[in-house]
C-alpha cells in the first residue's frame, strides 16, 4: 500500500459527466439523511458526503475544483441540519482543497493509499468542524480521539469500497 510520489505527467486527471457530478453528491446527501432512519448508528460513524468530496477532489486533482466541490457539498449538508449554514461548508472546503492538492502530487489510486488518505482527511475534517463549531457557533463539543479514530477507520473502510464503485464513472480527459 505505498503512496508513491509521481510526476505531474504520470498522474491522470479525470472528469465526470454532469449527471454523475450532481447525482452522486445528491445521492450521498439523501442516503446520509435517510439511512439513519433504518440504522440509527449510521450518522454517528459515517459521513458519505465527505467520502464523495474526497473522491471527486482526488480524481480531478484541481485544487480550485476540489474546494468548490467541498464547499457545495458541505453547504448542502448544513442546510439539512438545524445549525447555522457554513460549519460543514468550511470543513469540507478545506478537505476538498487538501485532497485535490494531494491528488495532484501523489498517486492515490490503490486501496491502501486511499484507506490512509481517507482516515487522515476524516480527522482533518473533524478537527476543522470542531474548531469552527466551538469557536464560531459556540456549540459544546468534546474532542475524542477514540471516537475520531474509530469513525475515521469506519469511513476509510467504506470509502475504499465506495471509491471502487465510483471509479466506474471516471472519464479520462
Amino acid at each position: 500500500m505505498p503512496i508513491t510520489y509521481t510526476s505531474g505527467e504520470q498522474i491522470e486527471v479525470y472528469r465526470f459527466s454532469m449527471p454523475v457530478t450532481v447525482g452522486v453528491p445528491f445521492l450521498a446527501l439523501f442516503l446520509q439523511s435517510f439511512v439513519p432512519r433504518i440504522f440509527p448508528g449510521f450518522a454517528i460513524y459515517f459521513d458519505l458526503p465527505l467520502l464523495v468530496t474526497i473522491f471527486f477532489a482526488m480524481a480531478r486533482r484541481n485544487p480550485i475544483s476540489g474546494l468548490f466541490t467541498g464547499a457545495a457539498i458541505g453547504l448542502a449538508q448544513d442546510m439539512l441540519g438545524p445549525y447555522p449554514i457554513g460549519i460543514y461548508g468550511i470543513a469540507k472546503t478545506v478537505v476538498g482543497y487538501l485532497a485535490s492538492s494531494l491528488g495532484a502530487k501523489l498517486d492515490v489510486e490503490n486501496a491502501g493509499a486511499r484507506f490512509l488518505v481517507t482516515l487522515g482527511f476524516y480527522l482533518v475534517h473533524a478537527a476543522v468542524y470542531f474548531t469552527v463549531a466551538r469557536g464560531m457557533v459556540n456549540l459544546t463539543l468534546h474532542w475524542s480521539w477514540k471516537y475520531g479514530i474509530l469513525a475515521g477507520l469506519a469511513n476509510a473502510v467504506l470509502g475504499v469500497g465506495l471509491y471502487f464503485v465510483l471509479d466506474k464513472f471516471k472519464q479520462r480527459t
Binding site: S33, F34, L67, M79, P82, Y83, G86, I90, V132, V137
Partner: protein, 420 residues
Amino acid sequence: MESVLGRYRNLTILVGVLFLQALGLAVQVKRGAEAGNTRLIRIWAVDTITPFERALVWAQNGTGDLWHSYFFLRGVRAENRQLKEQIERMRLEQVRLSEDAEQAHRLQQLLAFKEQVIVKTVPAQVIGSSGTDLSRSIYIDKGSNGGIKPDMAVITAGGIVGKVWVAYPSTSLVLLINDQTSGVGVMLEKSRLQGVLKGTPDGAVNLERVMSDEKVEPGEAVLSSGGDQIFPKGMPVGTVTKVGPGREMFLKIEVKPAADLSRLEEVLVVTEKQERNAVVQSTGRVRAADILAARLPSVPDKPAAPAPAAGTTAGEATATAAGQVAKVGTKPQTPGASSGGPGSTSAARGVPGAGQPATGEVLKKVVQKTASGGSAANGGSGNAAGSTPASLPAKPAAARPKPATADSTPQPAASADNPH
C-alpha cells in the same frame, strides 16, 4: 502584487471562499437561531431531498401494507393499528389522570390553578434525519400545510420526543430532546424537584440545575414540568439512570429517555393545547393555617392510644374533651359551653373564656386525651389543641406538635358538632 496573487492563486481562492463562509456563519450567529426565520435556501434543500425520502417511506410502507394486509393477515394489521392508536390515546389520558391525582391535594390549595390539556394532535411519520452525527434532529412528513408550527411539542405514547424546530410547507425539522441545543423543563416524579433536561454532544440526556444537596435516586421517573411552555405538564420524559456530583453546586444526573429516540417511526405533534382551571374536589373549606402547616416541617404524630379513643371521630373527641373541661371545672362560663354540644364548639374555637375555669393540669389531660382520641381524624386533634394555647404556659410555636394547627384560628368544618 498581481504576481503574488497569481502565484498563490489556489490559496487565495481558498482563503476567499473560507472567508465568505465564515462571514455568512458570523451573520447567522449574530442574528440568532430563530426557528421562524427559515431561510429560503434551506427550504430549497429540504424540498429537494425530502420528496425522495417521503416516496421511499411510502413505498416501504406500501409494500409492507400490501403484504401484511392481503397476504399475511388480512385486516389484522388495520385493527392492530387502530388498537395501537387507541392505546396511545389512553396512555396519554392515563398519564394525565395519574398526574392529576398526584396534584389533587396541591391543587386544592391553589386558587384558579391552571392546567394544560392536549386537545389536538397530528400524527406524522418520520422520513429522515439531519444526517449529521452532532445534531439530533429528524424530519417528519407534516409541515405548515398540515397545521404544524415551530415550537410545537412532538411526542409518542412512550414520552416526549422533541419540538418542531422549523416547519417547512410539507415537512418539519424536529429537534430531539437529546440534541445539545435543546432544553426541556422537567421535574422528578416523587421529589417534585425541577430542573432542565439537556442533550449532550454524544446524544445522551442529562438533567441539570438540581442542587447537590438534594436526594435523587436512580430509577425515579422524570416528567415534563410545563415550565418551558412547549410540553404539557406531566408527560413522561425518562428515567434517572445515574446520579453523581457535577459542576459547582449541581448534581450530574443522567436520564434515559422514555421514548426510543433512535428508532422513531411515527410521532404525534401537539397542535393544540388548552389551559383550563383544574377541577378541585369539594372537601370543605381549607384554612390558611392548614396550607401553612402543610408547608412547614412538623413533628410526627404520637402513636395512637389503644381502645376507645382510637375509634372516635373528630367530633366525638372534641366533644369529650369539652365535656371533661365542663366536668372538672366549676361551670361553663360561656353561653356556648352551657348548651352541651356547642360547648365543645367554644372549646374548639379556642375562645379564651372557655378555658378560663380549667386548670392547666386539666387542660393538659384534655389535650392528651384529645390528641390520642382524635388522632385518627385531623380535625379532632386540631380542634382540641386549638383550645389549649389560651391557658397553657406559652411554648415556642415551633416546639409544639403540629405547630400551625395548634396556633390556628377557629376551624369551621372539621368537627361534626360544629354548627358551621
